[in-house]
Symmetry: D2
Subunit: 373 residues, 4 copies
């Protein structure tokens, strides 16, 4: 190997023009990426570039994807440890390339030690400004928004990091179509009121105001995950909420028992298969309250409740909630949009939407957002 | 990180049921993969698997892709050195997975030190037989067959390993459609008579009988690349020859001068743009002679000269050559097939066929092969 | 011309096994087809077949399409008069063919003399039973459901029969995907409360219980159009209501003045662009009342309000209405489904959905219906 | 019916700006259309238009298609007799519309009385010039070029006019992509040397110089079909010859006996399935001679032998012939192009290419023609 003697190592805080995507603590030594779709982006000259990463986990490792000039050229598992990864070599040193290193996996609420950080960059080039996109979108959701099963064949049943993807994902695709910067807040199995298994703690609204407040993130917590999120620094033009799928699941799954209090939680169906009146009202109120919370932190965003990729059973209640919210608040910048339901040919791994389904949803959703713009 | 204490390390020669794709020397300690599309394949149980690779280069590094159960889940640069790569973790240890680790880059005839090897595998599972596919295909070609530019945007102009792909490639796609095992012999810029720049040494036929005889492979040479290939051990049912594109280039590029002898080589066009009669005859004879050589080593293969992805200018002469060959030898198992020419929307990087173009060619070629079967 | 001496003429009442699609009066001498998508269907042997039609109009002529074995082989204008049309010639007389002659145009509420009838059939074959399809669907709608503009280029602006199609139509396509018999009740410009121009008389619910009660059909009236429809004879499994698009139009168009009473009708928008509270309530109540009326006549049908091909502005109110209806009646066989909105590439003539848009809606709608089945 | 009192009747010779597509005798009272794809084209204002046609046949009737502003709005059988057909009604009288009435069926060489003529036009508008297209293409072929089976389901087996189409046809599609005027010379079952059943009289070259010289056209003959074609009046830029499919058939079908001379004709296969040397040479010479004939009448056209939609078995010999022709004549404006072979999903009625296959061929062929332009 011929060594490239021109390579210089930069600590992240020393890099001008580094763009960070996704909620972060503001700490750059090192930088922690929490959510799926979080990324660092660079416009850089030079013939060669490396990044120094550090990662840990008990069970669920991190995966990353690497895009050069918007083409994905690499995807890889991040084994535990601290080490250098080569991003490119041997390119024309005078041409400016756009580099994006994307976290492909969600924060893992069941793995205290799951964590991914970037320390340094090695390069023989310079760093140039990365433009702000003219539009900002925040996506909030569950496994669908985490891209669970959007990679891998239908036959796969292991719930592992490998089958998650931030790019085979309607979020990245919608942002791409609309030329938008975006952030994701999402967690498999969670809902707006409870998780699929009736656990009332596993709802996204509860932790929305923290940087990455989903429980069990022992390591992430020490890295600042539970700090208040700085909403002023990044105000989205659109918030897309894709929740409800696990709340429907709760009606069809066994009760959840709080081990400390002994209290039992369960969303009930009536004998004729319809929703129990009080339970569906609890869901409806959770939708209303989450919109109120979103509006508190995002004064100008148009909020779209976009739902339907795995069934549309909660749609009437979601519309009911949004109708009530609008009537009571006179806030018209909230609407509902139905996403296309997966079909056999568009199903991926783990019975979740595959790439085709995500593409279809991105196409419809971006058309809808354009119609509002 | 929780350590997986069940992992055992195996030297390659100790692994039963390892399937190697692509020409190799028979040496497994370590195993050298020479050609693009060369691969190791495993059917394995266990929850976790790593491979130990070793690689070197002056300029052109190796890239690999990893497929699990036929889904590509990773692609990565192989930096110089010897180290372990994690293939998967945390899968159901009782289920047998099909794993394929594929070399994504051609042997680099201009880089003496370019080389890729596999030493060992670490696993907590067992290894099961990999079935032979019912069909075997050998692909012989140039940059098109090496998948040059089948990854990356049209704007890319750096001639680097990153833009090569063995999977965004009509060879892999055709084999996949036909459920075939396959091998590739290919080199960017080379032809059947000369390379695009009129160098008469850079032709595939000259080195066809060596394992990987293309020049400049200093390191590969020491690893056995120049040994005679063992044709008996792998007899293809079909040989697809995709050559002629660079031979056409030679008519349109400057002469090449042999520095030692001072001799000048050049394929000429007449003033009216037609081919010089003697020069085109030399090409025609090179086609005939290559078919004779292929038949010498492959007694039963149906030989298809499949040409046209970047223009069909040599097609009349290719047909002329094959007509003569059949007439003289009475060997009817040779035919010509026109592949669809790239168009704007199907062009990839480096003015080469992109993924769409490779898909189209694979579809047509596999239909043609089926019609012969 | 060689005359086919075997041809016999049959009056319609004399034809066994004639299947009539679409609401009709029960009179067969002659048979009047009122609605678009209405048709006669035959399974017939013989080498040749003709039908005798009669038609009149002041302005808007009828068009028909002819399908043989489910392939559309002809579409033609029906000029005024009574005459014979050749359906096929020279076919194998022993093979049974499925023949369907489809009315391609809606009843024209602004043309008193528009009318289409079938008198007789000439054939040298026999007539065989046509199977009932396992599913029955009734489609109720406006210009979208009438296939207005689903034929013709975007540039066309003449409001004429030629640009209507019963086959470039989500109704026929959905029925085809689901293997269903179907009927259509539709009228361009009409809504559930008023027409696009605020005329409160032009709403479909008002005339739903008549065979074809839309006003101005002087000639059709004398043929029985205003008779009560015999709902017992044909009970659909699904009713698809695609109304609301013109009701939204009413909010954006000038008032309508009843010339006799002098009364003025207008749906209002508030200054901030939102709907006037009373006016939107009137629409909501019209939706509820129409569902009540539909249920009165169709005891077992699943009613789907399927809306959205030209915008989804009324969707929140439609959901509101359906939620109220279900709550008050405990009738759960009513739901709402969002159809994909037209985009540039799927727009046809007269700013209406083109063939692509109808195909997309049919695909989504049929998946939704399957999910209920 | 309200009568349109403004309608005036024009004999064809009195219509300025009438454009006739396809070979014709120059006689306009009436105008005979011989070949499939032949058409009359008008740019016309007015609200209404009718044409007066006359047609006869023993067995095989004519079908026509009607396009308004390039959209096909009607297709219909032409029953025997002389009568008026309504083309459009009720359009904006001030807007100029482009109207094209296209013969959808080939001349029927087995029906002496098959014939189609246009006498008059009735209109309330004026006639405006129709522009010449910048490119002219002549297509020469067999059933493929006649669009046999490009309409109708795979199950159809009746050889009847209904399953022929000039528009579900690579000829019309290629001309449309390239914005070209075009003519067709084609006949089902015929070849360049013999027909599929070894009849040496049924070859296109023999009659190429007549307007429509295919035998058995008793009625057409009396209308001038056997007159010399006026090549000077229409010189194509490209001639596409799609012949060879039936010549291959002749090798696989029984001999043909000339009843008058008792002579027997048969193209033979050797026992090993290869072509008999003399017979294949006869085919090769027929290709060469036809190109010589084409060049005689078309001094500047680029001649493309475009073959392959139903197999490519004759391709080596076609290339051989064209190579010999070019070598001997030094005429380089002749080339060979392989069209994509039909596959299951692209097959139409009568085991012939369906619409999908024609679209695919048109796409590839037009790209090839563009590459020559």
């Amino acid at each position: 190997m011929k060594e490239n003697l021109k390579l210089k190592t930069y600590k992240l805080p020393d890099i001008k023009n580094l763009k960070v995507h996704g909620r972060s603590t503001g700490c750059f030594s090192p930088l922690t990426l929490f959510w799926t779709g979080s990324a660092v982006e660079l416009n850089t000259s030079g013939s060669e570039l490396w990044i120094e990463v550090e990662s840990d986990y008990d069970t669920y490792e991190t995966w990353i994807s690497i895009a050069i000039n918007s083409q994905v050229i690499s995807r890889q598992i991040i084994a535990a440890g601290r080490y250098w990864i080569c991003i490119f070599r041997n390119m024309n040193e005078n041409i400016i390339k756009n580099i994006r290193i994307i976290k492909d996996t969600q924060p893992m609420s069941s793995d205290c030690n799951s964590c991914f950080q970037i320390h340094s960059i090695k390069s023989d080039g310079e760093f140039f400004p990365v433009e702000e996109k003219p539009l900002k979108i925040e996506f909030i959701g569950d496994s669908i928004t985490s891209g669970e099963g959007s990679l891998g064949s239908k036959a796969e049943t292991d719930w592992i990091s490998m089958w998650f993807s931030a790019l085979n994902n309607y979020t990245a695709m919608t942002a791409d179509i609309l030329n938008a910067d975006y952030r994701i807040i999402s967690q498999s199995g969670w809902g707006v009121l409870t998780s699929y298994d009736n656990n009332p703690n596993n709802n996204i609204p509860k932790y929305y105001d923290k940087i990455c407040g989903i429980p069990a993130n022992g390591k992430n917590e020490s890295l600042g995950a539970l700090k208040e999120n700085d909403f002023e620094s990044w105000q989205p033009d659109f918030i897309v909420v894709n929740l409800g799928t696990n709340d429907f699941g709760a009606f069809n799954n066994p009760e959840w028992k709080d081990k400390s209090s002994g209290k039992i939680y369960k969303q009930h169906l009536n004998e004729d298969g319809t929703f129990d009146e009080n339970d569906i009202k609890a869901f409806r109120d959770a939708v209303i309250n989450f919109i109120l919370k979103l509006r508190k932190y995002n004064k100008n965003a148009h909020i779209i409740w976009a739902y339907g990729m795995i069934g549309i059973q909660m749609m009437p209640t979601i519309y009911d909630a949004v109708n009530i919210y609008i009537k009571e608040t006179r806030d018209n910048k909230v609407s509902v949009f139905q996403l296309p339901t997966i079909i056999d040919e568009s199903t991926g791994a783990l019975s979740h939407p595959g790439k085709l389904s995500h593409q279809k949803s991105a196409k419809e959703l971006s058309l809808y957002i354009k119609s509002i713009l």
